[in-house]
Symmetry: C2
Subunit: 247 residues, 2 copies
């Protein structure tokens, strides 16, 4: 047996999320079904982490044991073309047996896209979150650096999370406005993110831009360690897992 | 009664085309249904032209008679928000009673997008045509100017068309490659286009890029006045009606 790592992209619109579950179509199930068919035996995969229903990936990482060593491009092509059209397989590489997509992940980058155009673009309705209200982008830009560094992010974590240690380090928190002026692109890079963390951060930043939360309130919201202190959870359609890095 | 003109965009993926037909969901039916509900009486629309199933619009133009003059932005907002999410209403304006979207159109611009990335992007599968084969873009660029000017475009018209006069004038035929290098954007502007004309032009240009048709063959193909002389009809997903101009 050898172990392969693969970088995959998927359109999350028609998935109930990445991870296998009793009901619903999942990315993991589709990939395991295809790999098992190619290998003619049951293949199970690890992923770098879950993504929720509607959330997309540009660079999700998976790994799996494989019965024999083979051409990387042949395996990538077979997996890419035999999985449904909403999954793409960008790269396959051989990794040591000890590799694990989730346990060994050192850094993750997420993007969050917000459509602020009027009217809402019909082409981006599944690929951005729509925000039709007034936004002062300068206020959002002033608030972003307050997320940088190591903090207990309990206030920015879904109450449904069972994780105990809620301390995470954010290296990058950035906002770029599209040339056309009708789309916001947030980028967050850190050593890991809690359940719904990016979506709650963006939901809070949009409230800051709209004037409902003060632009200098982030330090107090973090210090509160209380989910109710932060803003709402932004919609999943805007969220993309962009990249996962390993040592 | 007054007459309004509206500029609309739509994602053609889940439509059987623009024009009403006996079976299938159409853009015209959805807009007429919404307008009739708002006006509380039957409203019928004209469109600048049909688009086929799967074809998109960034700037389709429609017009309709309306029982009373009212706020343009209120009407635009009502129509935009009450039509389904795959239709957007960008602009509404008052026009003379004599206005007609189809009869008075002077110039149309279409875009055609081709995904040439490896692998195919899952996010663009409904919004580009995919071409996975080798392409010499210089050959395509050399062929493009041969479409300019006034020609009988019978060779680039579907055999199903009932139109007799197949002479059209093309003012612009252009190709731009995306920054990422994985998408082609064709633009065609002319006084009008025949049924499937852009799709047959693009299908022929891709064959030229792939070396199956000579880059200098366009004049002969036009002169043949024979649909079989041109290349195949490219897929509808890459086609966008971008703009319609009036005097």
């Amino acid at each position: 047996m050898v172990r392969y790592k693969a970088i995959i992209a998927y359109d999350g619109t028609n998935f109930s999320g990445f991870q296998s579950q009793i009901n619903g179509r999942t990315v993991q199930d589709e990939i395991e079904k295809t790999l098992s068919k190619i290998a003619n035996q049951t293949i199970k995969i690890n992923g770098s982490g879950r993504t929720d229903a509607g959330v997309h990936a540009l660079g999700q990482v998976i790994d799996f044991a494989w019965p024999f060593e083979q051409s990387l491009e042949k395996l990538r092509f077979a997996l890419d073309t035999q999985t449904p059209g909403d999954i793409a397989v960008k790269q396959v590489e051989l990794v040591p047996d000890s590799f694990h997509s989730r346990y060994l992940a050192k850094e993750k980058t997420y993007e969050f896209r917000v459509d602020i155009g009027k009217p809402r673009s019909p082409f981006r309705r599944f690929y951005t979150s729509y925000y039709p209200y007034e936004l002062d982008l300068e206020k959002i830009k002033r608030a972003l650096p307050d997320f940088l560094g190591t903090h207990d992010f309990t206030s920015f974590c879904s109450g449904k999370s069972a994780v105990k240690n809620k301390t995470r380090t954010i290296y990058e928190a950035d906002l770029v406005i599209s040339e056309s002026g009708d789309e916001l692109l947030f980028t967050f890079r850190g050593d890991g993110f809690l359940y719904n963390m990016i979506r709650i951060i963006v939901g809070t930043l949009l409230k800051i831009g709209n004037g409902n939360i003060r632009h200098d309130a982030i330090p107090q919201i973090i210090a509160a360690r209380d989910r109710d202190a932060a803003g709402p959870t932004a919609h999943p359609e805007g969220l993309y897992l962009k990249e996962v890095k390993y040592e």
